[in-house]
Subunit: 342 residues, 2 copies
DNA sequence: TTGTAAGCGTTATCAC
DNA sequence: GTGATAACGCTTACAA
């Protein structure tokens, strides 16, 4: 029963027998070993083709003491973001033997660390990619390290060593967008901040304040609100900022969802956007262009970040040098109709 | 070098040595074999605990000739849908040894079939879950079958044998929603269809027409538009339907994105929603409640479908009987402010 | 109830 | 250049 013309997948033994060589030689072909006679290689490739042989990744994983999985850990910052990232990763690993394993987690759960640990222990992925906000947590990064799982953290700022993170330049791009609001003549500019504990919220605020500072503009408390990146908190912020005697003529919202909330409050108050109020968001979520009016916003280069994250995790398999990979990837300010001169 | 106090993960041998039993006995504990002396079991569990042993899934996969991966194949019908489905699947498999591998594909690509095939051959998942619209393609289902990969198809109608599919009841729920529009007094009701070739588009149309039929109402061509499930096509549909001399007083849109487009055309035309126009969508995408006014829509039970799909794929591992699992899961009509009496 | 031997499909070592 | 042979960590016969 050494091997039969089994109806299941052919193995390396079948190929070896078919080509009249040893299995090690076949293995050399699979792994692209250079020390091989061209004739032998061709004969074996022929046999592989004929038999439709595909190496068993489990067996390779066992023998190589590593596997062909990269993990994506996230707590859904935004569905489109996650999916675009996945697509970026996939476009990078498509031709490799790697597959992408996803693990949504709950950042507020008590078992978060335990959950991640047992996942990593069970699957032992070759590496893990962390999306914000959990990418910002050093304890999770340390957990990966302790378990011997490489990782790459994705964030709004440089969170780790260059070959362990990919960052967007939130601060600069928000500063630039705010400068543009100012150059449109706006002087009373409101700000809706993201939640405490989110690095992105901090970075975006810093960029906003830098632009205001440079222009010598103040940010009075009445023009300032703090949300949690959700629609409802944007509604609350809108109520606070837009019902004043002298409301701001422009508002920067730290993400699109909150901008949508604020925008709808403006509609309810019959405030004409953009004639009376300019609004800018962040994320360029698909709905940004579907809002009324279409929202000016900042597009995160999340697809490209997926590509780079995958390459940083698997440089040796994707054929690239870690050193040549960028750590910061530029965001883009997308101007739409929600923004106008005062 | 049989085994050292290696700094890497302890193996079954380490546990066996530590507990003073054979590895087979440890294996019995891992696999929950009933024929084991309680004392032995406890001793081994103790050793596992002390050493922090976690069985290597690759090795198990090899020995068992199967692996612990379920695949999710999709062509992003809608980011939130995919993510909610993933979460459903995950909540079902969380306590098992299985992991979820995702594979976004491009349904219009020439290499679609080739791409899926090479993915399945490479990873050899235990099973695959297919999300619409690719779940509707019989050729893909047959490909899975040919490769010996079980599958479960998710769709808007029953697409396959009961233990190979999970369906929502699009037709009935759309019929019900349309009846509700009619009972609000609407007689001129427009319809924005989804694209040809999508089963969901067909089902939703059938439900809509059934309700109209039952009420003896016509659907003249001028109240009918066909879109591609994208925002822009909703805009086009809005232009067609709402600029007529006698526009419809209500419109059913086959998904939320198209409803958003139509809604924004209405805003541009200064049509008051819902006073002059009621709009209903489908999906309950996160933005549905963020539109202005918040959109009445139909919520797909996609999280639950994820749970059921996983259970149908892995009944023996998740401890459930395929027979007791539903094939159709009911959608829910969510009424919000975009809908009012005529 | 437990242990022994063989094998899952691949790669590494080290001869030839 | 190529091929025995022994791993890799676990499971399934089959014995004891």
């Amino acid at each position: 029963m050494k091997r039969g013309a089994s109806k299941s997948q052919p193995t390396i033994n079948d190929v070896a027998a078919h080509a009249g060589v040893s299995k090690k030689t076949v293995s050399r072909v699979i792994n692209g070993s250079p020390l091989l006679a061209d004739k032998t290689r061709q004969k074996i490739e022929q046999a592989i083709e004929t038999l439709g042989f595909v190496p068993n990744p489990q067996a390779r994983a066992l023998a190589l003491r590593r596997n062909f999985l990269v993990a994506l850990l996230h707590d859904n910052p935004n569905a489109q973001t996650v999916l675009n990232f996945e697509k970026g990763v996939l476009s990078a690993i498509k031709t490799s033997d790697f597959a992408l394993v996803v693990r949504p987690v709950e950042r507020d759960s008590d078992e978060l660390m335990q959950d991640i640990q047992s996942f990593l222990e069970r699957q032992r992925p070759w590496g893990a990619m962390l999306l914000p906000p959990i990418s910002e947590r050093d304890d999770i990064a340390r957990l990966c390290e302790r378990l011997g799982v490489r990782y790459v953290r994705v964030g709004s700022a440089i969170l780790d060593l260059p070959d362990r993170c990919v960052a967007s330049n939130d601060q600069q791009v928000v500063e630039q967008a705010t400068r543009q609001l100012i150059s449109l003549g706006h002087r009373r500019i409101g700000f809706v901040r993201g939640p405490r504990g989110f690095r992105s919220a901090h970075e975006r605020e810093a960029g906003f304040l830098a632009a205001l500072d440079a222009a010598g503009l103040p940010l009075p408390n009445k023009y300032r609100a703090e949300g949690n990146y959700r629609y409802e908190s944007g509604v609350d912020a809108g109520r606070k900022l837009l019902t004043q005697k002298q409301p701001p003529t422009a508002v920067f919202c730290s993400n699109d969802e909150m901008a949508a909330g604020l925008l709808n409050v403006a509609h309810g108050l019959k405030i004409d956007v953009p004639a009376q109020l300019s609004v800018v968001g962040f994320d360029d979520s698909p709905t940004a262009q579907h809002m009324w009016p279409p929202l000016s916003t900042i597009r995160w280069p999340i697809f490209d970040m997926g590509i780079v994250a995958a390459r940083k995790l698997l440089p040796e398999f994707l054929g690239c040098q870690t050193g040549s990979l960028p750590t910061t990837i530029e965001s883009m300010f997308v101007v739409r109709e929600s923004m106008a001169p005062i």
